[in-house]
Symmetry: C2
Subunit: 191 residues, 2 copies
């Protein structure tokens, strides 16, 4: 369902458990960036009305999640601050083809894969975190990430032949798995 | 209340009445850009929590308005499309000082002045348009623009001395009136 080519390693989970505060701050930034990505897509393809509707809904949800993470940080006494992101997003963005409509397809598929990876990891955090408040929190976010993934893949298909889009999704998913496998980033939601 | 240094000329209203479809399309783009401005401010000052909360609310409202204008266009059989904007926004952006915290103050005050001008013009459209459906539509948007103006000015004051911010608001409001007076743009919401 999530089209991912790898399962997250136990090593990632161990790193996260040791750096929960840091990962929560990174998570807040991820939600904010996800809102920015959706709004940028709305700007880029403003004449595509189904896309505009879907991006508007995603902007709303991501900003809501951003504030949920900020609230959680405040309850835990963790100061929200700037944090260098992992290289994951930038490396995925480098794979986006330059010419339309391939560019639209790739931007949507990359956004969809990031949602898929978040979804997979939120599921892992829900099932495995010993901090049960956080486990429940991630369980509550799981469904929306899965839904966003499906929305992005569906929209990508409106820009090209369904079979070609599916095949490109497989290519990008393979690249996504390689980017994570090769990551030497500090602990992040997408390290 | 709106801190504007000029009233919109009757010439503008006459131009608008003759180009309603065009102005509606431009208005949709303005709402979209207003959402983008608020999200950019959230990104730029993400550690300022009252600002983040306020920008989130504004992003939501502007995107809601964007879709309201798109719905109105569809009901009227007007195709939404790209349109070169007036030079108003760019000219105002050129006035923003480069160094913080002056930059934050100016970005917020410029955003606030754009909301104030929209508010003033929506009031004019509400009171004077012979197309009563549109007049009612603009009447319904009037209050939120006034509120956004107040929010931006209030937030600007959190970045500097209240008197200095007030004085800078007067300078920028004077410049805003000059920009509109000198405008040679085609009919737009901010021409």
């Amino acid at each position: 369902m999530l089209n991912l080519h790898s399962a997250t390693s136990p090593r990632w989970l161990a790193q996260i458990e040791e750096n929960l505060d840091l990962v929560l701050i990174d998570h807040a930034h991820c939600e904010k960036k996800a809102a920015g990505t959706a709004l940028n897509l709305l700007f880029a393809y403003v004449e595509n009305e189904p896309l505009c509707r879907a991006m508007t809904d995603i902007v709303h949800e991501e900003l809501e999640h951003f504030h949920m993470v900020l609230d959680l940080l405040r309850r835990r006494g963790v100061r929200f601050r700037r944090l260098p992101p992992s290289k994951y997003g930038r490396r995925l963005a480098e794979l986006v083809r330059k010419l339309e409509p391939q560019r639209a397809i790739d931007r949507l598929l990359v956004a969809g894969l990031i949602e898929a990876r978040s979804c997979e990891r939120f599921g892992l955090l829900r099932d495995r975190l010993s901090d049960r408040e956080l486990a429940d929190f991630y369980g509550g976010l799981f469904e929306s990430e899965a839904r966003h993934h499906a929305t992005y893949v569906q929209l990508a298909k409106s820009f090209g032949d369904e079979r070609a889009v599916k095949s490109r999704l497989e290519e990008l998913a393979a690249a996504e798995a390689e980017i994570l496998a090769a990551s030497d980033d500090p602990p992040r939601m997408h390290s």
